[in-house]
């Protein structure tokens, strides 16, 4: 790629960009943090998002965006270092602790987050939420999964299908 992202930061002041949520709230963040989004990265490299303009994000509301940015700000330094491989064990442990705490949130927020991470192409965040939901499913029966994930109670037909499933996939229930 062309110029390094931190090129503007030579006077100590990092370059800032403005993001605008669907409900018109403006968020000012460092370009390096916002660039964790593959979707935004090109616009930012192109010089967009600065000054009074701002980048509108019609798919993301302000509550979700502030959460997304919290993640990006925390992960930006590691990402700038070219990812994890050469980071020290202490740095990695600290990020892991942050991640575990970060997804300890209400499920409706969790799904908004993964949708936003999907739309903005923030791979790390998408994986983190997917891992969280997968962990919530592990070791549970279908009925327990339904309850955990907030499905309505099964209709009689659905119940019959679940019973049939248990016969067909016996090995998965042992």
């Amino acid at each position: 790629m062309a110029a390094p992202e931190s090129g503007d930061g030579n006077n100590g002041a990092a370059r800032m960009v403005t993001l605008i949520s669907s409900d018109n709230t403006r968020f000012e963040v460092e370009a390096a943090a916002a660039s964790l989004s593959q979707t935004l990265q090109l616009t930012i490299l192109d010089g967009g998002g600065g000054g009074g303009d701002g980048i509108p994000l019609p798919n993301v509301d302000s509550a979700t965006l502030s959460k997304v940015l919290e993640y990006c700000i925390k992960h930006a330094p590691a990402a700038a270092n070219g990812g994890a491989p050469n980071a020290t064990a202490v740095d990695r442990a600290e990020l892991e602790r942050f991640d575990n705490e970060f997804v300890n949130i209400d499920q409706s927020v969790l799904y908004s987050l993964i949708m936003a991470a999907h739309n903005l192409e923030i791979e790390g965040l998408q994986s983190l939420v997917a891992k969280k939901v997968a962990d919530m499913i592990k070791g549970k029966s279908p009925m327990e999964i339904r309850r955990t994930l907030g499905f309505p109670d099964p209709t009689p037909e659905e119940q019959a299908e679940m019973n049939a499933h248990m016969l067909e996939y016996g090995w998965a229930y042992e």
């Binding site: 300890n104 993964i114 997917a130 299908e161």
Partner: protein
Amino acid sequence: MEDVADMLVYGPEFRAMDENMQWLTLDVIKALPRPTVSTAAPLASAAAARAPADFIDRISRLPGELLRNIVSRLPAKDAARTTALAKRWRRVWHSVPFVLVDAHLLSGTGVLGRDRSPYRGTGMEAMVSGLFRMVDGPFHLTDTVSHVLAAHPGPFGFVYLIGTNMETLQDRAARWLPLLAAKGLKELVFVNLAMKLEDKVRLPTDLFKCTSLTKLYIGSWWLPDTADLPRTAAFPYLRELGLCNLIMNHKDLIFLLDRCPVLEKLLITRSRLPVCIRIQSRSLRSVQVSVAAVPEITVVNAPRLERLLLWEAWGWGDRDLTNMSCKVKIGHTPKLRILGFLVPGMHQLEIGNRVIKSENDDLKFRGPQDKVNIKFWKEAGPIECVQKHIKKLVLRGFRGRKRELDFLKFVAEHAQVLQEVVIEMTYGYLPSDNLGVKLRIFMASAKWANECCKMMAVKCPFDQEATAWCYPRGFDFSIEDPFDVSKCQEDKCGAH
């Protein structure tokens, strides 16, 4: 890796092995790549993530791509159970590349009946399910694996089979390979759970039908006679190959390597019978040989080879136990950057036409406690390499002996371009212990040739008998120095 090793350790097969065999079996498992899914659920904490009480199924509104991302992180049993949720979820599982770790089928994560016991979450599940397996007998796992492999239409992503003793169950297990081949399997770990050191089970030649493989680890097999294979047999997409505790002869190994035209990563470990390794490959980038009887390693032509990592890769010594030397011949390798560990007196290095041998024969076959001329470096006169070229020095297994300190001081006072010294404490010691204090006090009096050089003491992250690096890092080209243990992800790398 813990879940996989635990399931095995509490099983009846493992208990029936003698101590040496148990040790070897665990060592083979440690050399295998980590499964991409785990039964552990560190993020589960359902209380905080509870669904709102309005019974709206929000998750099913997510796009298919995200549901697939979630399901692809589940072990086979959990993934299969999600298909009971709704028709859409059935399609999701079927469109995710299938992942199976046979050890997970043994785990105490059963959701009905007996395994749903008070032992759940107590750390005793593995032990309890081990007891049940004694009742079930050896066919149970093998038959379950067969069911599971038939249940998913493919394509198959990652299959990890380590829990079947192939000597007794050869017929059943032999049926798996054609199935895996037909479903386009990408990554396979296929280990015979051998019970005795002298077990010799031929690797089924059907393995060569799995031509879509990109990663393959095989363990505790007898490599088949490749003369019987069709001349077209090959793994055209294979990039990573691990050969663990195999009985193989020189010509079959050459055949195998020759049939992997894009192979980049090769691991040979626990080779108990001697085999010469000959490398002629346009694609190989990293070769790791550990705990193996190898009288000779010849790299004829390997234009992309960057790393040749050796650990206890020694000769056989069958006729003369004092001669376990291993010849390492390096031919055309313009990109070779890392070579070692070389052991004086054991390895004879030939680079091009130059033979490099340790002149000090006293070093041959002496343990560290024997007295050798420990100041040979002082008598050698100025050593150009030390003075002008060494940038980094890593001293492993530091015990605080006088000669270790003398050596460190010698290098520190002569190496003009030295930038970094890493001292790894001997197993069981911390840099903050007396040993580390002794080191710092002694080195404080050194007059460093390069005053900007940094010195760092770290604790040994490995098991006492383990290699000095982890295999995954030996294969990770984004890491400049696979030996730098200060960057090691403790408990996340295989060899720990």
